[in-house]
Amino acid sequence: MPEQSMIAALRAGLREEMARDARVVLLGEDIGAAGGIFNATQGLRREFGEARVWDMPLAEGAIVGISIGAAMGGLRPVAEIGFADYLLGAMHQIVNEAAKLRYRSGGEWTCPIVIRAPYGGGGGGPDHTQNVEAFFAHVPGLKVVIPSSPADMKGLIKAAIRDGDPVIFLEPKRIYHDPVGEVPDAEYIVPLGVASVCRAGTDASVITYGAMVKESLAAAEVLAAEDGIQVEVVDVRTLQPLDFATIATSVHKTTRAVVFHEAVRFAGFGAEIAAFIAETCFDDLASPVLRVGARSLPTPAAPELERAVLPHAATLIDAVRHLVAY
């Protein structure tokens, strides 16, 4: 199998779906000749023509609102928003319109759109690194997907495009180029709603997603080598639908859980996972469910400051040690 980066796998997934389904069109700022800020759409206009890849005016609410209309008009729009922070300018269209169209029309109108956005840390400062997943996960009618590996990136974007409902597809931009990983040659999709156990373990479960999967795997190696602790790493892959069963099964086995994400810990999506575990696995738990996330601060631009706010492998290692020693 060929090795690919996340961004190459994304591009390949977009390309396959565009080739498969003529209704798939891309909309975004500077995604045509320029190929997008992170080159996700590079070459796609040349391959599929101008009518399939649209450079949009600088207005994120419009990109989403027009995508919603285009979906009702029979297309399968994939909207790129340059940074997830810009999604805030489209919240009314996403939350009040896209999420509710099917429900409010008794199923008569639907909104099969994908809204893709690079997100999270890795430089950019308070308004270009926000972890926005909690906003969307709370909204009935939206699906929320966050890939962590090249193979998942490709399989999940394809599933998202084929899905009949609005999907918020958040791409951890700091790992666009790393990890590189094997991506199957044959056609495949990764279904929404199925978590992945990335590493089996017996002593503690780390429930995570996105860029923190890589950090978790790194932490697991350290904990195995230095402490003899075998950590099981569960990548939820989709926040909505959330694969409760896989999480519960893992915690039942390990009796200990840390929920780990890059987003601000306070009222972050990790609270849902932790609250779920604390309720459902109460009798299994040997120690409290811990959460590791960012401090309650904007993410500063200077690398030294960003590191002081966002969590990383070392933060997780401390938490797991604390948990096992509890």
């Binding site: 005016p57 207005a59 609102g65 209309g69 009702m72 297309l75 199923g107 008569e108």
Partner: protein, 335 residues
């Protein structure tokens, strides 16, 4: 349009010849029937609200000719309609049955507009190509641009017709929608039903220009002002806009200037009275025929209302239906 302009405008100057419109008696009577139907249904809705049997929804009184004139120019089944809460007359003219309106107003389980899920008047009908209306003012203008965009890409003949009030033009969505539609010469018709007031806020407290149509130039599209109580003038204007849209000449912003009539008092600006007067003057209608028409419509409407009153409330067991598609791998249970 400043508040006072409403008084300066001269209403009810309906005249097909002046407009060089070739309309038959059958056409005129059909439109008159639509106007009357809207008025009579609107009256019933007002009664329901006054009686405390229903809440929500807004009267279309005064807006009938504006709405029906635009609907008269479209191609049902091909074109898309993106209405707002005030577009009762448009819905009835399209063919939405009064039963549906009443079931919706009373939030019955068999409400075909939203299954009892939305407040009244968030219109919707897949069969009629009416896009489900949001309760948020102005958002539909972007959806209209998106539908027209899809039609362009798919090579379909559809035009998107969207309605909104002058208050809605203060929203950024309006700007973004007109910009995009103008940029790509999309087949959209933006109809602003300018009644001079948004809830309590007069136009002069919303915007510094006299006419909404004055803004069309900023989007490279024609802006047309038309007396929205003159059915034939609206039809003539809308037909031009549709013809342009279908010919690939792009969008039009139509400002239909309308009065917001009180529910109870007769008003010289009333578009129903105006059309009636015109028909009488042409001898296309007699007083007796008019009475008969009203009586027939009244009987039909009352039957529809009775049916809705008797219809059962929504069944809570259905509440989770239609949140997501249940097709394929991503079907799911409620979280």
């Amino acid at each position: 349009m400043r508040e006072s302009d409403h008084d300066l405008l001269r209403w009810a100057r309906i005249d097909a010849r002046r407009l060089s419109l070739d309309v038959s008696r059958e056409h005129l009577l059909r439109w008159y029937r639509q106007m009357l139907l809207a008025r009579l249904v609107d009256d019933r809705l007002a009664d329901l609200r006054a009686g405390g049997y229903a809440s929500g929804g807004a009267s279309c009184r005064g807006h009938e000719a504006a709405q029906i004139g635009c609907i008269a120019a479209l191609s049902i089944g091909t074109d898309f309609i993106l209405p707002y809460y005030r577009d009762l007359a448009a819905m009835l003219a399209l063919g939405m049955p009064p039963r549906a309106i009443f079931l919706n107003q009373l939030s019955r389980g068999s409400d075909p507009i939203s299954n009892g899920r939305m407040r009244p008047a968030q219109w919707n009908s897949r069969a009629l190509n009416v896009i489900s209306a949001s309760g948020l003012v102005g958002t539909q203008t972007l959806h209209a641009a998106g539908i027209a965009f899809a039609a362009r890409i798919r090579g379909e003949a559809a035009v998107a017709l969207t309605f909104f009030g002058e208050g809605a033009t203060s929203q950024g969505d309006f700007h973004e929608a007109l910009n995009f539609a103008g940029l790509h010469h999309l087949p959209v018709i933006f109809v602003c039903e300018n009644n001079g007031i948004a809830l309590s806020t007069p136009q002069g407290t919303q915007m510094p220009v006299q006419h909404v149509a004055d803004r069309a130039a900023a989007y490279g599209m024609p802006g047309v002002i038309v007396d929205g109580t003159d059915l034939l003038a609206v039809i003539a204007t809308a037909r031009d806009a549709f013809a342009n849209a279908r010919a690939g000449k792009g969008p039009t912003l139509i400002e239909v200037v309308v009065p917001r009539l009180a529910t109870d008092a007769p008003d010289p600006r009333d578009p129903v009275l105006a059309l009636r007067g015109y028909l009488l003057s042409r001898q296309d209608l007699t007083d007796a025929q008019d009475e008969r028409l009203r009586a027939d419509l009244g009987i039909m409407i009352d039957a529809a209302l009775q049916e809705a009153v008797n219809a059962p409330s929504p069944d809570p067991a259905t509440v989770a239906e239609h949140l997501f598609s249940d097709s394929g791998a991503s079907s799911r249970k409620e979280a």
